[in-house]
């Protein structure tokens, strides 16, 4: 609790005791008023003061003013205990509200606690603690185990593993060695690292992410704008209704004090605070919670579009597939898989061709280099070599044909590498761009979330696209597209769309126009890529497609809480207004409809922080 809050708590305590005393003391007549004014002023003097001051400043109809009119009105018609109690109850509500808001604000802030406070700058070989703002590009900083990396840079000495959980939500550590790039906001877990700074603090990843999340409030959702507009009309309307209620019925039927009392209750209910605070707080909580999982949502507006997604369009390479070539199948012929792989990898061990790299990555056992001789690279064909005295061929069908060997055709798509040794066919290896491990699961989960259509767009060949789409269960595909065609396709899909919104998921590198054209553009693998952060509405820090359904789920969860809060606050207020008009609502119930509802709505809003993983 802050000093201000403690002070208010003490005043509430003292006021409550004084009120109890005033009710219990057998005082009658004129002395009753000062007796009740004592606790009234103890508890509510600041409300009175603020109301007076704000009127001078031209700010009428704020909650202080409304509370003052209501309670002073109650005093005027002789409802002393009620007036004091209402003021007391109001202050208790204010205190609760301020504590609850402070608490949720802090918990959101701690979620985003990636801002580094200090950096160890190396000066003449000695580390000096400085503020990260003071470190310049090209400086060398020292990072001890357990410390946050303060600035983006490249490792020049030391090796360690980094926890990127605060940035990506990914808990597996990332190993770094000299030459690797490290990003601010990651935590160094083991060794001491020396890093040459590559970006000034203001442009570092940690600061950029923080800015993005903090500025997310600027792009407001429809429901947020609705609430602000509503609040602007709601208060004056209810105040006018209160005036009418105070004047019209008594003119017809008499009973002034009874109707004024009911009108005062209207005034208390007329405060829009519960709505005004809880809706943005919910969005903020949702955005904060999502950022914890490495999902950066650039505004509450995109929460709404995400929640209504009916079509998800995926880019293929780098988004659903890894974008690097890998051995995906080995079809041996009369020998073992490992033998085929080992032989192919060994023959290719001097090559720097991408195919050779993927073969070496898959083939664990290499035959020692000195036993591989006469290596001959045949351009556009493959490699011929002599391994342990046996002539070996590794390459495409044409290479085999040149040597009079027949290869078996393969039903799989991708690059087929045939292997032959000593004039005999040994089998073939299929190399292609492998599908990411969670891709199928991501598509399935999107469908379970009610996404009606999934689409694949790619510049790749039809056969390769078909295989990926088939394996993942994607509904439609458009292959062999030029970069410009993608925008046309997305526009056509947008035209066909009757309900809901369209999301495009791409890796952000050259998809900027499409990301911008879609209702919501989701860029993947945003770590360190400025282009992606700039172009997209939602940035996924790691490149796991499973984050897409997760983002949709978070958006829905957040929006559900927003709707609950709006319905609850408006419902309770409407109910109390109706009850009050018929004289069935006591004034404390009206205070509950104001501050009580605020507190409950705030507590509900904090649920948006807890993210469904």
């Amino acid at each position: 609790m802050t000093k201000k809050q403690t002070k208010l708590l003490i005043r509430i305590g003292v006021g409550a005791v004084l009120l109890l005393a005033a009710v219990l003391l057998p005082v009658t007549g004129l002395w009753r008023l000062p007796l009740f004014l004592l606790p009234y002023c103890t508890v509510g003097y600041d409300v009175l003061w603020k109301a007076a001051r704000n009127i001078v400043h031209g700010q009428v109809f704020d909650e202080n003013f409304l509370m003052c009119v209501a309670t002073l009105g109650a005093l005027a018609i002789g409802e002393y205990p009620e007036a004091v109690f209402v003021m007391l109850f109001y202050q208790v509500g204010e205190l609760f509200q301020s504590v609850a808001v402070g608490k949720s604000r802090r918990s959101i802030a701690s979620l985003m606690d990636i801002r580094p406070d200090t950096a160890n700058l190396l000066q003449n070989g000695e580390p000096v603690k400085v503020s990260p703002e003071d470190v310049r590009v090209g400086d060398v900083i020292l990072i001890q185990p357990g410390e946050k990396i303060p600035l983006d840079g490249v490792v020049i000495e030391g090796a360690s593993s980094l926890s990127t959980v605060a940035l990506t939500g990914e808990s597996a550590p990332r190993d770094v060695a000299p030459g690797d790039t490290v990003l601010s906001g990651c935590v160094n877990m083991q060794g001491v690292l020396q890093v040459r700074v590559q970006k000034p603090f203001a442009e570092s990843t940690a600061v950029k992410i923080l800015e993005l999340v903090e500025n997310a409030g600027a792009v407001k959702a429809k429901s947020e704008n609705f609430i602000t507009k509503f609040a602007r009309w709601y208060t004056p309307v209810v105040v006018i209704a209160a005036l009418l209620l105070a004047v019209v019925p008594p003119l017809v039927a008499g009973g002034w004090s009874q109707w004024i009392h009911r009108a005062l209750i209207f005034l208390v209910v007329s405060c829009p605070c519960a709505l005004v605070i809880s809706v943005p707080l919910t969005f903020f909580g949702g955005i904060g919670g999502a950022s914890r999982s490495g999902i950066l949502i650039k505004g509450s507006q995109y929460m709404e579009t995400l929640a209504n997604v009916r079509t998800v369009v995926f880019d293929k390479t780098g988004t659903l597939t890894k974008g690097v070539f890998e051995v995906v199948a080995v079809h041996p012929h009369a020998v073992s898989e490992a033998q085929v792989l080992a032989l192919a990898a060994s023959a290719e061990q001097f090559s720097t061709h991408p195919i050779a790299l993927s073969l070496r990555a898959a083939g664990k056992m290499l035959i020692p280099a000195e036993q591989v001789t006469d290596v001959q690279e045949v351009a556009g064909r493959g490699v011929a070599a002599t391994v342990r005295g046996v002539p070996v061929l590794v390459g495409n069908e044409a290479l085999l044909r040149d040597h009079g060997i027949a290869g078996h055709p393969c039903h799989k798509t991708g690059t087929i590498v045939h292997v032959a040794a000593g004039g005999k066919y040994l089998g073939h290896i299929v190399i292609s761009d492998a599908v990411k491990p969670h891709a199928a699961d991501a598509v399935a989960r999107l469908k379970a979330l009610g996404v009606a259509r999934t689409v694949l767009l790619t510049g790749d060949r039809q056969a390769a696209a078909q295989e990926v789409a088939g394996a993942l269960g994607i509904d439609e595909l458009f292959a062999e597209l030029l970069p410009g065609d993608k925008v046309d396709r997305v526009e056509a899909l947008l035209d066909r769309q009757e309900r809901g919104t369209l999301a495009f998921v791409g890796d952000g590198m050259n998809d900027a126009p499409v990301l911008a054209r879609a209702d919501v553009g989701i860029a993947m693998g945003g770590m360190g890529s400025d282009a992606a952060i700039e172009a997209a509405d939602v940035v996924l820090m790691d490149d796991d497609p499973a984050r897409v359904p997760q983002a949709v789920a978070i958006a829905r969860h957040t929006l559900a809480i927003v709707r609950q809060n709006i319905a609850f606050a408006l419902g309770v207020k409407a109910l109390v207004l109706v009850l009050a008009a018929f004289g069935l609502a006591p004034m404390w119930l009206a205070v509950f409809a104001d501050v009580g509802v605020s507190v409950i709505a705030i507590l509900n809003a904090t649920r948006a922080l807890r993210v469904a993983a």
């Binding site: 400043h57 704020d62 301020s98 604000r105 959101i108 829009p272 605070c273 943005p280 903020f284």
Partner: protein
Amino acid sequence: MRKTFELIDLDCANCAAKMENGIKQLEGVTNASVNFLTQKMTVEADDARFSDVMKQVVKLCRRIEPDCEIVL
């Protein structure tokens, strides 16, 4: 020029909304946002008039929420 300022003791969400609307209507201000949750204010205005604009902003905020202090 765009600048962000910290706000101390910004206690009510409705006042923040009022401040934001008010600042946006000031002359020379191209955009503004008052974030109740991060307790920060961002003002975007012409470079040449920025300090003048900020004086107006401070005056306006004092009128709407006198308890709230802008860290300049």
